[in-house]
Symmetry: C2
Subunit: 206 residues, 2 copies
């Protein structure tokens, strides 16, 4: 076995994640994916049934981990009586950064996630809302405790803005070009720090 220590299925998932993010779901063909994974073309249909299923699997694999990490981080701060807004924001933002910095396609995945928002594909949106929605609501409860002067509606609006800015930043949409001396890792970390400071002030607006 010279190709990799991972199974065929895992290799396909890894290659798909990278290529879908780089070229989009439609443009990245199964031929490219299987070539990159060093597996046979027919293996995709054997293991996943269809390209659609493969796309969903790629999402599920990472989203489950992101949600778990966010909930863990939230639980750590929410039971402290003196938790701050910045801490809760960090619990929301940090797991996303960590995921985006993860080796083996983390950054690629975040770009894929952003693409999924842009695609107004209803099945995919529903899938994401099922996986993301309840976590966002858990965070909203804690934010509400820290910002009691905001109405529920006002709070949701602001959280939506935070989620948008985060998506954009993590997907590296930015118009800001990375400075030649900076690594992608540091660039992303700086983005996160700026984002927390900005969001903290924005959420606290009168």
């Amino acid at each position: 076995m010279i190709t990799s220590q991972f199974s065929t299925k895992q290799r396909i998932l890894g290659a798909a994640e990278t290529l879908f993010a780089q070229h989009g779901f439609e443009k990245a063909s199964l031929r490219q994916v299987t070539a990159a994974a060093h597996v046979n073309l027919a293996a995709v249909n054997y293991h996943f049934g269809s390209k659609e299923n493969l796309i969903e699997e790629v999402f599920r694999r990472r989203l489950d981990r992101l949600n778990t990490h966010r909930q863990d981080a939230l639980r750590k701060v929410e039971h402290q009586p003196d938790s701050t807004l910045d801490q809760v924001l960090e619990a929301f933002i940090k797991p996303a950064i960590d995921l985006s910095l993860d080796q083996n396609g983390g950054g690629a995945f975040m770009r894929m996630l952003a693409r999924a928002y842009a695609e107004h594909d209803q099945p995919l949106r529903k899938f994401l809302s099922d996986n993301y929605g309840h976590v966002l609501r858990e965070f909203a409860v804690v934010f509400h405790r820290l910002l009691p002067h905001l109405s529920k509606e006002e709070l949701y609006w602001r959280l939506d803005i935070v989620a948008g800015a985060l998506t954009y930043a993590m997907a590296d949409f930015g118009l800001i070009k990375r400075r030649p001396g900076t690594t992608e890792r540091n660039h992303r970390k700086q983005a996160a720090e700026h984002l927390i400071r900005f969001a903290s002030a924005g959420l606290s607006a009168p």
Copy 2:
């Protein structure tokens, strides 16, 4: 002439804008576009030469207008000695909202713009940066006058966050479901108001 008061070329542009936004550049076929525009398939190649060119034309048509409106709005406030942060922010955000509310595919265009960011397609990114970049820099100069305590770098980071949140909001990515009683127009307008308040506080953060 029962189809429309517009020329074949205009009808193709309109249909392309909507379908590209709804289904993506790759997924939306020229066959779908020409069917929706009630024109013949071959008309695309006659008028635009290729699908690539059509995509670029769709962008150019709206982006030119957006940029002009933003620059006009900026010029109106920048020469007032007592212009406020909110006014400059509005000059940046309002034209984008207006465009997104424009009949005949404004909303569709904004979603397309968001998709274009998500596609890490280099030629398209360069095209957008050529059209957007200098306007962003003009705004940065004025913002810098109003926020002199921020370093150039800090300011660029924060403006990038604003641009991200704006893109997200205008493209209707949002996790917030529109309330049944609200029209899309009002929903979008509310999003803009919240965004200005949020961004104003965020930009003013210490």
